[in-house]
Symmetry: C2
Subunit: 215 residues, 2 copies
């Protein structure tokens, strides 16, 4: 990596931390320069605009999210074990983010009424994540491990709701039991999506041996 | 109402509209004065501080929310009919808010990391609303219409998740089917919370005739 790339990467890391504390709109040239012990113009030499910097921060968050949540879960077998691993990691990721919460969730509120390239990038990322989860759900339906009569987008909405409530209850209400509750509600949603499968068919379909969740 | 109170009330209405568009932090003296065709000092003569104005806006939203959601539902019989009425109205309220969304949800993101009196007021309102919903759920459990083995706070979290996802999908993703999906997911949560009640007891308890939802 060249020196310019290293500096750029360090600025993005610092901006990502700052965004965790103060939101995407909290990323200002002045604050970043102070954190980096650089001049304002030195910081902005690396980015054509504040929007470009915000987009770089969203991309850095997406990489971290993929490393934390999606990639490890993809090593689990297709079907319900993979769906469970994704959901568990997603909940842990959202609950663990010390104070910062999830930048996509916080960013949704900041950007939902601000048309522009940053909002477009965020929408694309959220949709991309939903597609990944929908694919994992569809594979579990195909494998006969999740009910075929339940619209997959409804299960996705239920799971997404668990994560949004966790984010809200941790950040606003500071509920100490938010994480445990999120895990219970998600488990119940998955159990209900799975449990009725045999009765939805004339006879229980043969099942692959059920693996325990990733963690 | 005296003239001063009328003016104050008109300022709060205008600020509530503004907050629906730009958030609680979007309420500025300058913008309000412009909307009211008043001087800045004229607007602020009615409020001791910007925080006091923000709190007045939150209270106005709470009144409107109670009128839209809670009070009409309280006219339904205790138990599942009342829970259903609350949930239906809550979803309609969140889905209908033309563009503005729910000020409590938007405000949660704005205020969750800003300690102070405005945040405290919002937390108190959200907790108050949760208590109302918990009370309605507890009555339905007592009436034997909802499962006693399901923690009421888990059902509450599930329903709250439906509303948060609706808000997110309408505002950020502009999903045309967000409202229909929210209704389906909420119906399923309530059906699952209700359906297992008979099997949780040795014999089905006698049930009151099931009333159709309020709307």
């Amino acid at each position: 990596m060249k020196k310019g790339e290293l500096t750029r990467s360090a600025i993005v890391s610092s901006a990502l931390e700052l965004a965790g504390l103060e939101g995407l709109e909290g990323i200002t040239l002045g604050k970043l320069a102070e954190r980096m012990a650089m001049s304002k113009s030195g910081v902005f030499a690396h980015f054509g605009s504040r929007e470009e910097l915000q987009i770089a921060v969203l991309k850095a968050h997406e990489r971290r999210f993929a490393e934390d949540v999606l990639l490890p879960a993809l090593s689990r077998p297709r079907g319900l074990p993979r769906v469970r691993a994704i959901v568990e990691r997603w909940i842990d990721h959202t609950g663990a983010a010390a104070g910062g919460g999830c930048l996509w969730i916080a960013g949704a509120s900041e950007l939902d009424d601000r048309p522009g390239p940053v909002r477009d990038v965020l929408v694309g990322m959220v949709r991309g994540w939903q597609r990944e989860l929908m694919r994992a759900i569809a594979q579990a339906v195909e494998a006969g491990e999740l009910r075929a009569d339940l619209p997959p987008e409804d299960l996705l909405a239920g799971l997404f709701g668990v994560v949004l409530v966790l984010h809200h209850d941790r950040r606003l209400l500071r509920s100490p039991d938010a994480l445990a509750r999120a895990r219970r509600v998600a488990d119940r949603l998955l159990a209900e999506a799975a449990a009725a499968a045999p009765s939805a068919r004339p006879r229980p379909a043969p099942r692959r041996p059920r693996e325990s969740p990733a963690r």
